[in-house]
């Protein structure tokens, strides 16, 4: 067991680079992308005056999804700068990345309990339909709120 803590590094050319491997990498990179977008939204909120008008939990709620409805019930006096097309683009980007990350996460969890190839095929097809539907509905909600 002493050697089990040693790291094993395999060069990238000797690793199998299939779809699951790409999605494994995508999960990590999309996590970093979400961090970047959330930090971006929080910095934007601070520039727009959140420091004196919102509490920490409200700033975080805006950070996790920069939708104007998330600042409606706070002390922000003017909602106009929070509902610009710019923030809607940022919110749409965050939605796209988060939905892909989340739906793939659900597929990974299902794979732990559904082992037949037929079952996994069904899970993947349902996940594609579900992901497309949630992205369309989410984009609609962001651009009409």
């Amino acid at each position: 067991m002493a050697t089990s803590t040693k790291s094993r590094t395999v060069p990238i050319t000797k690793r199998g680079l299939n779809f699951e491997m790409m999605m494994w990498l995508f999960t990590r990179l999309s996590a970093l992308a979400m961090y970047a977008l959330i930090l971006f939204a929080i910095i934007g909120a601070l520039i727009m005056g959140a420091r004196t008008q919102m509490n920490l939990a409200d700033v975080m709620r805006w950070g996790f999804m920069p939708n104007v409805r998330h600042v409606q019930n706070t002390n922000v006096p003017d909602l106009a700068p929070w509902s610009t097309p710019f923030w809607k683009v940022v919110a749409s980007l965050l939605l796209l990345v988060a939905t892909a990350h989340g739906v793939h996460g659900l597929v990974v969890i299902c794979d732990d309990y559904i082992v037949s190839s037929r079952g996994r095929w069904t899970v993947r097809n349902i996940s594609i339909v579900f992901m497309t539907a949630m992205i369309l509905i989410g984009v609609y909600v962001i651009w009409t709120s």
């Binding site: 040693k6 790291s7 590094t9 990590r28 996590a31 019930n73 659900l106 969890i109 309990y113 909600v141």
Partner: protein
Amino acid sequence: MGLKRNVSLATALRYKGQGPMLTFVLHRIGGLGMAIFITIHILSSFAGGKVGIYTNSIYENWIFQIFIFFFVLFHAINGLRITIVDLFPKLIENQREAIWIEWAVFIPVYGMAVFVIIRTGLGG
């Protein structure tokens, strides 16, 4: 077909996975919880009207917010730890220390958020 476990449920629950196992379980529960929460949240904002007001009243409840902030923040901070360790594989030798750092970051951030949520929830 079907799932075959080599251990009974009682043995599985006694498995001493300790810190890393705890983060795995919380990460999975948090991810699943967030998927359900955000799906319902998007659908209810799409539906609007009575359904929207009803689900929003649950989501804006401070007790619910304490739960959702725990899972979202834990998933985010644990996810960052997983990302850093996976992208720099040599760090896996220090993964127990990484988990300690993770808790040291999570507890103050979550503690501050809970403090604000409770203070707002009690009308302060």
